[in-house]
């Protein structure tokens, strides 16, 4: 029977997917001889390794003993946190088995808003099965995402702001922990959502959207505006909930639209709500207005065709040239690339292993020239931050593929040189302090000021993942998010794009996977739309333990469009 080409293609695709799936289930490599050439850190060597000398055996035993002690210490981390004992043990060397966990703990406590997060995590969607258990798995994931994002080595400008927990929780309902982290990063910093400005101190973007919303009211719903003024219902009462949380109390459908079309959905939705309910609202006194706009609206909307309405509103607003507020000022964007360590983090370096060499100052010019000022190839120093258009460091197309941090002794993989050159060429607008030499690829959970490569730790792409530290197999079984055999293998993306290939330094695994990681959120976010829409297949609704997960990559069934590098374009 002749199959039509499309069916064949689909079968082929399914086949490939199945193969990956099988490989995943098969676990670690079957060829045991591989272990003979695998060194302490998991790297394959050219020759078979000699059996360990008595001295090495002794050292390994010592390390194992230390690891046990560390595991005990990690269990009572808060107790040891600032103790002299911790310092002493760190100087002795953190065993690789626990290093990841220790870094994670240290970074998480570096967040300034731990207490606030603790409060909010326990009141975020507590009616959802995933989050109702205090300190349960779901809440832990939420806490990790928020703490990693707000840690002193990640987004130090926004940190944690109330409202972010709801956004992160929604992401976690459909994504594993670390993917949710990257999706959050993407939402905060990409061009279409740029939620950074919503949560930044002073709420610059909220104020801008609020002012715009008032303008729309003035132009299109004058009678309602007058009524609201008379009743002293100011827009400032309801807009924070609407804009910061993206009407989250309402419906995930709107969230999908927001993911897809970005911030203009917020303007359109605000307008749509008031327009649709105008007649009703005009009759309501202040209390009724509040109840309607703050509480009743949180119930699922009775109108079936809200999507149609919102799109109609978007068209109408565009015709009125009111679909978006005036462009954002630079204050709404991160002024420094996320993930760049602070020079002097507030809690102080918990791990003094950097003591032999202070962490290099981030402001230092990357180029070896004599100048002490940053010398960007594009805008002059200082103005890169002030002048519009602002630097959007984390929007994908402009983000340099960050190299692994170089250690103090100048040890670095030879291919990094090629990487650097390529990146500098690729991103001419980046100021010098942000060029790859100056940027150090830091882990969101790593200790501020701790040079990660000061240890024998190999540079791995895991470095950027908040929940999967470097951990050899089967250690620290007390922590379910660690030590899964699956995690020890690096999941290099099976698909890559032209864009990625262009940046890919040949033969440099680290850079490839780091670049791919960067690409991933851009693909994730549209996938969320597919996930949430009823026609997008069975949504992943529950939290799955990390061990069972596919290493942070969406399973193909969930994310059919992963191969497409370009996110869906705004539909209008």
């Amino acid at each position: 029977m002749q199959e039509d080409p499309e069916t064949l293609l689909a079968l082929q695709r399914a086949n490939i997917v199945a193969q990956y799936h099988q490989a995943h289930q098969a676990g670690s490599p079957q060829d045991l001889s591989l272990w003979k050439v695998t060194n302490h850190q998991g790297f394959l060597q050219d020759k078979e390794l000699p059996s360990p000398s008595p001295r090495e055996v002794k050292k390994l035993l010592q390390e194992t003993r230390r690891a046990d002690k560390w595991i005990k210490m990690l269990k009572r981390w808060d107790h040891y946190l600032l103790s002299e004992k911790l310092r002493r043990w760190v100087y002795k060397g953190v065993p690789p088995q626990v290093r990841g966990q220790e870094m994670k703990e240290a970074a998480l406590v570096s967040s300034r808003d731990i207490m606030q997060m603790d409060l909010d995590v326990n009141r975020t969607f507590c009616s959802h099965t995933m989050f109702w258990d205090h300190y349960g798995v779901g809440q832990r994931a939420l806490f990790h995402v928020l703490a990693a994002y707000s840690s002193m080595v990640y987004d130090t400008e926004v940190g944690y702001c109330q409202g972010m927990s709801e956004i992160a929780a929604i992401l976690l309902m459909f994504l594993p922990e670390e993917d949710a982290f990257w999706a959050l990063t993407q939402l905060m910093t990409d061009d279409r959502h740029a939620m950074h400005g919503f949560f930044d101190p002073g709420f610059p973007k909220l104020l801008r959207f609020q002012a715009h919303h008032e303008r729309v009211l003035q132009r299109a719903l004058l009678d309602l505006r007058k009524h609201m003024d008379e009743e002293q219902m100011s827009t400032g009462i309801y807009t924070p909930k609407w804009f910061l949380l993206c009407f989250l109390g309402r419906t995930l459908k709107l969230w999908d639209a927001y993911i897809l079309n970005g911030e203009r959905v917020l303007t359109a939705m605000a307008y749509t709500i008031l327009k649709v309910h105008r007649k009703h609202l005009l009759k309501l006194p202040l209390e009724g207005l509040r109840e309607f706009l703050q509480d009743s609206l949180a119930q699922p909307w009775a109108l079936e065709d809200e999507a149609v309405l919102i799109r109609a509103s978007m068209t109408q607003l565009r015709r009125m040239r009111c679909d978006l507020p005036p462009p954002a000022g630079p204050e709404e964007f991160p002024t420094r690339p996320l993930g760049l360590e602070r020079v002097s983090p507030a809690p102080g370096p918990l791990l003094p292993s950097s003591v032999s060499e202070p962490p290099p100052r981030v402001e230092e010019p990357a180029s070896p020239g004599p100048s002490h000022q940053p010398e960007p190839p594009g805008p002059p120093p200082g103005q890169a931050i002030i002048q519009p258009p602002p630097q959007r460091w984390n929007s994908l197309p402009t983000l340099p593929t960050l190299p692994v941090k170089q250690d103090g002794a100048g040890r670095q993989p030879p291919d990094m040189v090629g990487l650097k050159t390529k990146n500098v060429v690729s991103f001419p607008s980046a100021p010098a302090w942000a060029t790859p030499e100056a940027l150090r690829w830091t882990r969101p959970w790593s200790t501020p000021g701790t040079p990660i490569t000061g240890s024998p730790q190999p540079p791995r792409d895991d470095a950027v993942r908040p929940s999967i530290p470097f951990l050899p197999l089967s250690h620290c079984s007390s922590c379910p998010s660690l030590g899964s055999p699956a995690q020890a293998r690096d999941p290099l993306p099976s698909t890559s794009t032209g864009q990625l290939d262009a940046r890919r330094p040949q033969g440099q695994i680290v850079a490839v996977s780091a670049g791919a990681r960067r690409l991933w959120p851009a693909v994730t976010v549209p996938c969320l739309v597919l996930l949430s829409l009823p026609e997008g297949g069975t949504p992943r609704t529950g939290h799955q333990p990390l061990i069972q997960r596919d290493l942070g990559w969406p399973s193909p069934g969930l994310c059919g469009g992963r191969g497409d590098s370009s996110p869906p374009q705004a539909q209008h």
């Binding site: 606030q116 909010d120 009141r123 009616s127 109330q162 409202g163 709801e166 709420f203 400032g236 006194p285």
Partner: protein
Amino acid sequence: MAKQYDVLFRLLLIGDSGVGKTCLLCRFTDNEFHSSHISTIGVDFKMKTIEVDGIKVRIQIWDTAGQERYQTITKQYYRRAQGIFLVYDISSERSYQHIMKWVSDVDEYAPEGVQKILIGNKADEEQKRQVGREQGQQLAKEYGMDFYETSACTNLNIKEPISFTQPRKVRTCMTEGLKLVGGSSEDSNQEDVTLTVDTGPTQHRLHFAMLLGN
């Protein structure tokens, strides 16, 4: 449309995040308690109308987000408040320590002479108590505030602080002969009137437990 009340009072709840401001509000206006609330984003308010000597008094209570960052939004609402509740959690020493900061904010942004009331909430959690009742009393005395320990959970003392100065103010308004009754559209800013006749509420406080009924 005719007003459903004669006098309006705006009260404001401030204090650290998680001390139970929203719970207090819900307990007072709806007599409900939910152990799980979502965090307040920005501001919110609820209203309740009570009757004092035949005068309908509408109490509008504004709830605010506790995170410091939200002060840029919430401080705009201090100005219009006639009474401010500073809430701390008796099981959190930290929230008690921060009351000083909140007081200085009130001094900066709220109208002068606004009545402040200190509330130690979660009084039902006696086993977790970190702040003694005396400490609360002492602090209240220091800043010239009233002090109550309340529990939104067990409904302890909720009505008392809410009924703090209203009778006095209402009476003052009445004796001043201000047009309060039968509020029509021209009285749209009558609440400002109560501000102008406020002759130092701290000296003439009356506590009417009967005000709201028991």
